[in-house]
Symmetry: C2
Subunit: 280 residues, 2 copies
Amino acid sequence: MQSNPKLFAYIHGNIQPLDTAFLHVSDLSIQRGYGIFDYFKVQQSQPVFLDDYLGRFYESARLMQLTIPLTKEALQDVILQLIEVNKMPLSGIKMILTGGYSANGYDPGEPNLIIIQQPLLLPTQEMIENGIKIITHEYVREIPRAKTINYSMGIRLINQINASGASDVLYQQHGVVTEFPRCNFFIVTQDNTIVTPAEDVLLGITRKNVLAVAGKKYKTEERAVTMEDVHQAKEAFLTSTTKRILPIVQVDDVVIGAGKPGEVTLGLLQDLIELEQKQL
Amino acid sequence: MQSNPKLFAYIHGNIQPLDTAFLHVSDLSIQRGYGIFDYFKVQQSQPVFLDDYLGRFYESARLMQLTIPLTKEALQDVILQLIEVNKMPLSGIKMILTGGYSANGYDPGEPNLIIIQQPLLLPTQEMIENGIKIITHEYVREIPRAKTINYSMGIRLINQINASGASDVLYQQHGVVTEFPRCNFFIVTQDNTIVTPAEDVLLGITRKNVLAVAGKKYKTEERAVTMEDVHQAKEAFLTSTTKRILPIVQVDDVVIGAGKPGEVTLGLLQDLIELEQKQL
């Protein structure tokens, strides 16, 4: 991220080269991991579903008792300026709000707002065509409705995911599944109901959009999903801003459904892509 | 912390003015709250119990799959150099190790090691003489044996603590208490047994030292401590590097024992201070 000399970022109230975007070590993100963020896609130089992402960013700030130093309109202006100078028509934009420079290393200061634009890391065609294997881990995020910067558990598990030949880790607690570090989770039941966990999850924008497109063809449910529900599912998939919909064919040692991406999942992916196109 | 122009810090392999100690925004502490730290006292320009703190720092790094870029000996040398240049005979030193500059904002890079020296924030004499009130909150730290930089919950609760007229918050889950965001917890039972939670807590160095001095006079136990145990305790106190031992006289709405600092607690505080003196 730091190595592209042509990219600009917003920090300390200015748009400046990303290479020069630094925070003092007294910042509460460095001292105490305290901050929130959000992340959305840019396609054809247009932010996609920006209102939803901005709404969630302000809601995360409220939940973590931080104040975003810009109004939504001013923030949107900065985002459009950044898109203008960076000239990356297909990309991702991340907004980070930290607890600010702390006088004593614990109490929040004036929050620091940082906005960076990055290349999109899309899933490979092979992952979409063959589906992915995932593992599960006993954990529930501590403030699930807030998109905090705390990924201690997810990053600590990277080596374990790789060692298992898996692509991601699904959190579950006492047999009830919730979400991935960066994605939501769905199952398709044997009677073609589209189900996603209701509690203890981040309210993903892609999750919302998938529920919307799925609702036009299928019954949808937001409810508790158990490991047994997962094992008996006809299909399973994850959703995220960058991954859209990615089929899941194995959970730990259990093959899901036919062990290959299902028709319902792939159909929803097409519907989601069409919904995105309509935004442009 | 940033405002003292005379202080120096260690960062990027050099000792330099604290005012110039910055991390690029691609650092995994800023991107994902990923890092560990440790903190010890300096008295009469000497680190106190340094071996214990260094041991825990390396253990936290191991648990979070990070590598400290210096050997213990080299790290100790840097600490002594910093004490030499900063000339703060009574102070605290914080070592932070982050996930490093991340190429994609998620996978760790080469860890960044930062060492800063700060004034000690000691409890007031009034807090020691009158004891403090605390509140409780349902939560357990996610990787309790590692001293990670994740204080999302503790900092989010600052306003609630203040609004309750309390000084700190004790985490409990399903009625079993564990620890404070930055302190360990002890009770003195009616038969003068010194008890501290065994599981899901950071292994505090002051906790260890208090168990050692307490063991010379009393029976000590590391075991599960319930809210009922707390309410029936004769005395209660917290321990930390800066606070040493601080008497607790009220937990939520329940007055503990006689509602004032107890003899056992104050005696242990004296014993702990004597143990520290022997180190110098």
